[in-house]
């Protein structure tokens, strides 16, 4: 068979995969703290055997996640926190290890544990954070949690814990399959808290998906896909023509 057919097929197949990446970004255009994925295609040339090195297959990949700041959305709720600038909030992932997130819509469960909107416990100075029954909970810029205990006056605020905030270099982290941020090198274990990360209470961070970029990429990928199909069609016509030429005259 004509090798162009396979090359066009690899192009079309990876165009479709890229569409999935952009579809996932757009599906999360309203998800709190979501970070968009980049997508790119890489050429994988084939230089084996005899002949002229003409073939290069396409390979779609996600080189990185876009960790840029999303828009801060004011909610006025004390337990909504957004990270300002670089950094992450440390949470305990379902398997018990430390993971990181920027989705800071928090709540206090029946046992007084501070959890993220999807139920993961936040980590403080020494493990998960417990908050006593309180009139008011304040979270300050460095993650310190101050409460005014039930029945106590406003003049008796108590600092209970401090949310662990970290700031790893973006080339040492990746998004895991659970959607949380994990360290690339698992053996490094846990990151030290970083005192320079700032959070702001009363805000949540919106998704940093750039909808216009994503839609433009989707359209351009759709056209590229059509071009790949066009090549396949041309190959088909070519092979039909040669089959006709080679038929014995009747």
């Amino acid at each position: 068979m004509d090798k162009a057919l396979y090359i066009a097929m690899s192009g079309a197949k990876h165009n479709m995969r890229a569409q999935t990446v952009h579809a996932n970004n757009l599906a999360n255009v309203n998800t709190t703290g979501f970070k968009a994925d980049f997508a790119r295609a890489r050429s994988m040339p084939i230089y084996f055997g005899e002949g002229h090195p003409t073939r290069a297959y396409a390979l779609e990949e996600i080189p990185a996640t876009d960790f840029r700041q999303g828009p801060l959305v004011e909610t006025g709720r004390d337990l909504d926190v957004a990270v300002e600038g670089d950094g992450f909030i440390a949470v305990q992932s379902p398997d018990g290890t430390e993971a990181y997130t920027r989705a800071g819509s928090l709540f206090i469960d029946a046992l007084g544990m501070l959890r993220t909107g999807n139920g993961l416990p936040l980590l403080g100075n020494g493990g998960p954070i417990a908050i006593p029954a309180a009139d008011k909970v304040e979270i300050s810029g460095d993650g310190s949690i101050t409460v005014i205990a039930l029945g106590q006056g406003v003049d008796a605020p108590v600092q209970v814990d401090r949310i662990k905030l970290v700031n790893p270099p973006t080339d040492t982290i990746q998004r895991g399959i659970d959607g949380l941020i994990h360290l690339l090198d698992d053996e490094q274990g846990e990151l030290p808290a970083d005192g320079n990360v700032r959070i702001i209470s009363g805000f949540v961070e919106g998704s940093n998906v750039n909808a216009v970029n994503e839609l433009t990429s989707v359209m351009s990928l759709a056209r590229q896909y059509e071009m790949q199909v066009k090549i396949m069609q041309t190959v088909k016509e070519d092979s039909e023509a040669s089959a006709r030429l080679l038929q014995p005259a009747s």
Binding site: T20, A27, N30, A103, G117
Partner: protein, 261 residues
């Protein structure tokens, strides 16, 4: 089939759910004691097609991988228990809680429901009941010869009886609080039920131990912010449109390949 179709389907479904919560919030913009909901979104699992950091050859590693996300879902709705504004009505049986706390309402099945809607009425027996006729707990009976009823900020209900100089104390309205009010189950009729997530009710006297004072002649308005909901509606609609654009693009790609090959 095309994975992007399923991914954008989750996007459409999540925006749909969000619009439902926005619609319910707006529908209850004038409901006394209503607490608005907020949809909480979460990205779904990622599928690893190529593992970043895997060995490409014995000597080299793949510098980056391909992890395809599978979309988004609404992981839950969060009740927002911030306070609504207080509205003066001057009705003696309208009571609002200024701060934390819930009134207790006896349900027909004997359990207790909790509410912040303090629009109370009198039954034909003189009992204080909610607008649907369910009894306020602890039960308070107003005698039929009472001239006026006063509810103190600590929940003490007293009445002036014709011909008697000293007011008669009829009972106390007690309120309850929860560690996690957002975990209460809303059952409609302005009522909430205790759940494992909310914790046990902690009963107390209004104005003490962190419970808010009760204010007679006032009602707590819905805490729905119309402008915020309208903005949420617009962003939801646009996100919906973009996701449906992906569905149609993916469909066109499939259509193109089936028609041309």
């Amino acid at each position: 089939m095309h994975a992007a179709l399923y991914v954008s389907k989750t996007g459409l479904a999540a925006q749909d759910t969000k619009l439902t919560t926005v619609a319910n919030n707006l529908a209850n913009a004038s409901t006394v004691g209503f607490k608005r909901d907020r949809a909480v979104f979460e990205d779904l699992l990622y599928q690893i097609q190529r593992q970043p950091g895997a060995q490409n050859t014995e000597e080299t590693q793949l510098p980056s991988g391909l992890q395809l996300g599978t979309g988004v879902r609404v992981v839950g709705t969060q009740k927002q228990f911030d306070y609504g504004s207080l509205q003066v009505t001057n009705q003696p049986l309208d009571v609002a809680i200024d701060g934390r706390g819930f009134f207790q309402i006896l349900q027909p099945d004997g359990t207790i429901g909790y509410t912040r809607a303090g629009q109370f009425h009198l039954s034909n027996q003189g009992e204080i009941v909610d607008p649907t006729g369910l009894l306020l707990q602890p039960a308070i009976i107003i005698p039929d010869n009472a001239e006026s009823v006063t509810i103190g900020t600590d929940g003490t209900v007293s009445a002036r009886i014709a011909g008697v100089a000293a007011p008669a104390i009829l009972g106390n309205i007690q309120t309850v609080d929860f560690v996690n009010p957002a975990g209460l189950q809303a059952i409609g009729g302005n009522l909430f039920l205790e759940t494992a997530a909310s914790g046990n009710p902690i009963q107390g006297i209004p104005g003490q131990n962190g419970l808010g004072q009760v204010e007679q002649g006032m009602l707590e308005n819905s805490n729905v912010d119309i402008v915020e909901e309208m903005v949420n509606m617009i962003t939801t609609q646009r996100a919906y449109e973009m996701n449906s654009k992906i569905v149609s693009t993916a469909d066109q790609m499939l259509q193109f390949v089936t028609q041309n090959l």
